[in-house]
Amino acid sequence: MKRALCPVCSGSIDEQFLQLQQLQDESSPNFVSEVVNIYFHESEKLLRNLREDCLVVVDKEFSDYKKMGIHLNQFMGSSSSIGAQRVRNVCVAFRAASEQNNRAGCLRALELLEYEYCYLKNKLHELFQIEQQRILAAGVRYPQQPNNP
């Protein structure tokens, strides 16, 4: 695989994703893809919630920031579990901004979060496509050519 396509090399994911891949075996051949799909599904919900929280938040309104913190904590946990390193880093910054009741910072962090999430999603999709092609290519059998004298 080209290094440019490798999400690990680009820094999007860390070795936690590799450990996730090690958990995949014959008893659960689609474990990684299932987990990643769950992550994408949940992440999009959380990102929507975070965007709503950022829009309705009023400066120094504790309850709004607390709600944001809960969603953020979930997103951070799931991202770290899947090995989404940069997404997690942005979540940490987002959490710091929310703890400071910094609405502008939260909005900025949300933009970065959505950017990183999209980047990660594209990379993982590419990874799965390449993996799928590799599996298909491994199963291809070419007919034997008759030997010409």
């Binding site: 090690q22 075996d25 946990g77 390193q85 940490v92 910054a93 900025r108």
Partner: protein, 551 residues
């Protein structure tokens, strides 16, 4: 998946109430371990743990997981009696530790039950009835004893958090008694070294060889591979700049001895616990047992090419500044010491490895009044300004080792300053394909007038759970070791954490007032001794055996 590989039946539920229902239906005795998250929609993990503790006498162990890496959360989990507190992401080693813990607990329970049964069978007299009562009483007292030990551990953790936030940060990630034991042992060891250094020999160095060298620390680099060479090179270059090298007395490539005795009881500790060794500093015996064979602190080494600076003590002359070297590992680059020198200089005694020559004989003793054992970071501008004699220390000019930036930190570690607001705008240039880290504070290099303790206190290193500084030499966790080397210590453990009152000393060019420096050093040393005595008094009732039994 891990559990399936190990044939452990696992029941998973999505809500805390469902977990309680499952426990009630099957009975508490059917489960050996409960693993729950902290932040949950209907009930948090602490409430769940308390509910389980109230309903089920045999107390299935509750292990908390959380993406919230705040210390208060972990402490609260410990207070509620959680056996483990694991930070996300959870790695297979954590799961293995949980499994082993559950297996050991179950095994111990079976042994107790067998003992009780046999006692019932052997005698039906009143004495046996009394024995049964005593057994029951012991079983009732054990939770109390356990809570008492938990309390003690909590007090110690609070003290560590107060005194050394970074040390606390290193051990806060789990309640594993082994890690705490390792930390305690290191603290005790440090106190021991300090006392040894008080009584150690004096090192002299020829006076006309050195200027003040800046004494810096190098942050540990926690990259998994390839970092030892540059850091070693960096330090070696620094040492190469030492004037005494001119006399051919200092090796171009110094290999230092590891600190401690390879044999130690830590392996026994591990076998006693039965836990995995992935994150146990006690796995690395060298850290726990100092091998101070003589007053010269000649430390035996193993063959590992880890670079450690033997700990020496210096007694400052009135006209000299102190210098000291502490045991560090340059493989993790936790600290790098460049001795401070004066016109009447001093070289630290470095204990070379067996592959290297003994440099100690090439140095003369110096008398220093400082018995400081630890690390310092070169940043005492006022001392530099007071000046010191300069004579040809061009090689040491500006010989400061900056704390490495976060490029050298593990990619998913973030440093967030306490005092500063996280500037999200700073994230923007760092976000992208080439950025593997976030740097919140540009002043992480510690350049400036701030004290090391302030630098450490100002920053909290937030590390994921898969990174444990106390990991002992496993490269996958950023052990910082070369592939073909084995470590018997935690390369990522920073001995400077033991230095609760780190001092900063930087000697730059120019003259300095050694009297002021000596006074400063003495005050710091006395303060440090007081803290060490206080720590020791606190550690005394918190015996290692109790630590093992408590958790």
């Amino acid at each position: 998946m891990v559990s399936s590989a190990q044939s452990i039946p696992v029941v998973t539920v999505k809500h805390a109430n469902d977990a309680l229902c499952a426990l009630r239906i099957k009975g508490g005795g059917a489960f050996d371990l409960v693993v729950s998250d902290v932040h949950m929609p209907d009930m948090n993990g602490f409430e769940l743990q308390q509910a389980i503790a109230q309903e089920f006498n045999n107390l299935p162990v509750v292990c908390k997981m959380s993406a919230d890496d705040k210390e208060s959360v972990a402490l609260k989990g410990l207070e509620n009696g959680a056996a483990f507190f694991i930070y996300k992401p959870v790695c297979p080693d954590d799961v293995r530790d949980l499994w082993q813990f559950a297996a050991m607990k179950k095994k111990s329970q079976v042994v107790i039950e067998d003992t009780t049964t046999s006692e019932d069978k052997t005698s039906m007299s009143a004495s046996s009835v009394n024995e049964d009562k005593m057994n029951k009483k012991d079983s009732r007292e054990n939770p109390l004893k356990r809570r008492d030990l938990m309390k003690k551990k909590e007090n110690l953790l609070n003290l560590l958090r107060k005194k050394s936030p970074k040390l606390f940060g290193l051990i806060r990630y789990t309640t594993d008694s082994w890690k705490l034991l390792g930390a305690l042992a290191l603290i005790k060891y440090r106190i021991f070294l300090r006392r040894v250094s008080d009584a150690s020999y004096k090192i002299q160095y020829s006076a006309d060889h050195y200027k003040g060298l800046s004494r810096n620390f190098m942050r540990s680099s926690i990259e998994s591979s390839g970092i030892t060479s540059p850091s070693s090179t960096l330090v070696l270059n620094k040492f190469n700049k030492f004037p005494y090298q001119k006399h051919g007395q200092f090796p171009a490539n110094v290999d230092f001895a590891p600190l401690a005795n390879p044999e130690a009881s830590s392996s026994n500790l591990i076998t006693q616990s039965g836990f995995g060794q992935s994150r146990l500093i006690s796995n690395k015996a060298n850290l726990l047992k100092p091998n101070i064979g003589n007053a010269n602190l000649m430390i035996h080494q193993n063959d590992r090419p880890c670079v450690r600076l033997a700990q020496n003590s210096f007694q400052t002359r009135p006209s000299l500044i102190q210098g000291h070297i502490s045991n560090i590992s340059l493989e993790d680059l936790s600290t790098a010491l460049s001795a401070s020198f004066d016109s009447s200089l001093i070289s630290p005694i470095v204990n070379p490895s067996t592959n290297n020559y003994d440099v100690s004989s090439s140095f003369t003793n110096i008398a220093t009044t400082s018995n400081y054992v630890g690390f310092s970071i070169s940043n005492i501008k006022h001392l530099a300004e007071s000046g010191h004699s300069s004579s040809g220390l061009d090689s040491c000019k500006g010989a400061t080792i900056n704390l490495p930036s976060h490029e050298e930190l593990q990619s998913n570690s973030i440093v967030v300053p306490n005092a500063n607001i996280a500037n999200v705008d700073e994230l923007a240039p760092n976000v992208g394909a080439n950025s593997n880290y976030l740097l919140f504070d540009d002043n992480i290099n510690g350049i400036g007038d701030e004290q090391l303790s302030d630098v450490i206190g100002d920053y909290r290193v937030l590390m994921p759970s898969n990174y444990l500084p106390l990991n002992c030499g496993e490269e996958i966790n950023g052990g910082g070791l070369i592939h073909d080397q084995s470590a018997d210590f935690s390369p990522m453990f920073d001995f400077s954490e033991l230095d609760l009152l780190s001092t900063q000393q930087q000697l730059e060019e120019g003259d300095f007032d050694t009297t002021i420096l000596a006074d400063h050093v003495n005050i710091q040393n006395q303060t440090q001794r007081d803290d060490d005595d206080f720590l020791e008094s606190l550690l005394a009732p918190f015996d290692e055996d109790q630590t093992l039994e408590g958790i």
